[in-house]
Symmetry: C2
Subunit: 430 residues, 2 copies
């Protein structure tokens, strides 16, 4: 892997091998527009595209035909250009930032443009990267589905009979998806204080079982028209990139409301995503095999390649109101039984259109042992076991007001090059 | 009610008492923009607003500050102006079209503008009226929920314990909402041909149990910020207007997929809505009591007024591929146990934001007797009884390729004035 003329710490998620895209505003330009993360900097692509004149970031005279693509307040216009264009732009940026760039005059040796285009990350405000039309949340994390199933139905019936035949999913709420850093208000809802009372009598109160779900999110780049399914072999071309996703969940609200039509207010109060979209290409070197499916799948779900998910190291930190941080779980993106291409093929099988900016959640990603769980529901065994924080000085079952939850995710390549997501964080407000 | 100088048949849904808003394109102006329906005509508001010069349709110099609101390709910009503006514009249009208009020079006696602005409906193409951010489908039709519950769980457990405590709902798919007239492709999906086989083995095939659901749709006009619930007394101010909604459903796909997270591909292949949005004000004279809830509801769901739903006469026609039409059901909008303000208050209780253009579905509206059912599932008793068509010459349990389904809905006032939705129609393609 080439080195950059910028000083990038080896522990940075934003190496030259990454180049994730996001929506930024800067002190010089407060209107949201496009940038990429590199080391501790943001490279402002609106400034760069203007500053490098005739040498186009976009292929095929693309800057002339799409002069405003990097000035947009969302990545949707860029996403819609398709994966070949994303690849081209990422490679051009990698070249510009490389020690041995083929065009040193453009940025490396151009002090004036460097000064304007490279902004320290702490001076940049991040915004929601996409205008999200529809959000779908799947349930592809096998160990999570199994563990939660055991809690509710016992080990014999932990997984529903459909689980290994299709990627189970449901439609989520797009309007309450927020960017990392946005505070999350503890939701009020109907809950059963005495689940065994007859007749059941709900109370309206703030959730007492506020939880997180550690997930990967996948943004769509290319639409399929109504009634035209996406074949499994074409599904990769519909992926723009990936983010971390925290599917905040109020377990007590969900338990009472969810029959017979699924989760609703227990989920729709907030979903947090990380601000930087890691392009599908950047994760390509980190392909891995997922959880093996014991059931032969239908043809429309059969993938040619064996390595269909990514070896992303995933972690969750819980920071108490006093500021003590504990890593409560470590797991991996390999713990999915269904891949995103399979989710796309299944989602569109009946003809449902996916549109650029639509978001798919993987479902909670847990490892095979309890300490690798992607939710407090699992870590606390349904609220029965206390999770130790801060070396045993504090405990949690579910979240307290003032707690901050931070998801992290990264891959490390053979030469140590790191491709990561940065942080996906949110603080609980009472 | 005033009479119009236009000749409007008393059987027209689009009387002077109505004035529903839609998105049209015309032979003279193929770019989608705003119009209203009146009798057999569309009044082109883009042409009208330009043609009447200084006399503003919009209040408070609104046309100057929002000069493009009627030239937009969706009603979202107009909806966002709020109910006071919608009321003002509707009243100004009613005045312009009245026999005794206070401004006869503007339209009634202005042959040139009349010729340009009034276009026969058959020359107009209708488009989806709103850009729909999120779509939520409720389950507020009591008789439907009960009848379907009896089929699955018997009369003792027909309704889940939460049913009378909260308006049960789930997030639907916005990207596959289509305007009346759009063909609906029979979805392919995983279905169990032998539900009793062990282990269960799904087949991928076109749905064999394609159904309709007769619903009302409610469009949101005013947003609530994240984490700020809408109080029940303010909820009316968040309603823009209403449409008919056909929630096409593939019962066999739904049965296999829906545990444990709710309907997905069984619903997301298409949802058809009628093109004209009937403003909330236009339905005000037709308020009625809904189904009485035997359970005292929580404070946040308590409404001050007793008449919280509308006495809308609802009908469904099924037209065979040969062109024979049978009205298969007649019911009423009164058969809801939960009102739209209650749905809004519940939806936002935990802080979920609703945005202008968001759509809420009522859930299937069925009457208390089987012939008043809003779905074929109920009319055919789960596929066991044949529905007679065309005087008994044909039968259906579920839909055949080539069938056309048409929903109609209208209210009739004391002086015979009719406020209706027009048609919500779709033809099944194989």
């Amino acid at each position: 892997m080439a080195r950059s003329w910028l000083d990038i710490d080896p522990s940075s998620d934003f190496s030259l091998a990454n180049i994730p895209f996001g929506i930024i505003s800067t002190p010089d330009d407060p209107s949201p527009h496009v940038g990429i993360a590199i080391g501790t900097y943001v490279l402002d692509l609106k400034v760069l595209a203007d500053g490098i004149g005739g040498w186009n970031l976009l292929p095929y005279g693309g800057h002339e035909s799409n002069p405003k693509v990097f000035a947009q307040p969302t990545l949707n216009a860029f996403a819609q250009l398709g994966r070949a264009v994303h690849r081209h732009v990422r490679e051009r940026i990698q070249d510009l930032l490389s020690e041995n760039t083929t065009h040193p005059d453009l940025l490396k040796n151009n002090a004036e443009l460097r000064e304007k285009a490279l902004v320290p990350q702490q001076r940049v405000q991040m915004h929601l990267p996409m205008a999200i039309g529809d959000y779908t949340d799947f349930y592809a994390g096998y160990h999570h589905a199994y563990a939660v199933g055991v809690m509710f139905r016992g080990p014999q019936n932990a997984l529903q009979p459909n689980y290994t035949h299709l990627p189970v999913g449901y439609h989520g709420r797009a309007s309450s998806i927020v960017v990392s850093g946005t505070p999350v208000r503890r939701p009020v809802g109907q809950i059963l204080l005495d689940p065994k009372a007859d007749p059941k009598q709900p109370t309206v109160a703030p959730s007492r079982r506020l939880d997180i779900e550690l997930e990967l999110g996948c943004f769509i780049t290319k639409s399929n028209p109504l009634s035209q399914p996406v074949g499994i072999d074409e599904a990769e071309e519909h992926v723009f990139g990936y983010v971390l996703l925290n599917d905040w969940s109020a377990r007590d609200i969900q338990t009472w409301e969810y029959v017979p039509l699924g989760p609703f207010n227990g989920k729709n109060f907030a979903t947090t995503i990380s601000p930087w979209v890691v392009l599908a290409d950047a994760l390509e070197p980190f392909r891995a095999k997922g959880i093996e499916n014991p059931t032969p799948v239908q043809g429309y779900l059969k993938e040619k390649r064996g390595e269909t998910v990514y070896d992303i190291q995933l972690e969750v930190d819980l920071t108490t109101p006093e500021g003590n941080t504990t890593t409560v779980t470590k797991t991996s993106g390999k713990n999915l039984m269904w891949s995103f291409p399979q989710m796309i093929a299944h989602h569109t099988l009946g003809g449902c259109p996916l549109r650029p900016g639509d978001l798919l959640g993987s479902g909670t990603i847990s490892g095979p042992v309890p300490e690798q769980s992607g939710s407090l529901l699992e870590l606390s065994e349904g609220g029965k076991r206390e999770i130790q924080l801060n070396g045993g000085n504090e405990t949690r079952t579910f979240l307290k007001d003032g707690d901050t939850v931070t998801l992290r995710g990264f891959c490390v390549g053979k030469e140590g090059e790191r491709v990561g997501f940065g942080e996906c964080t949110g603080r609980v407000q009472g």
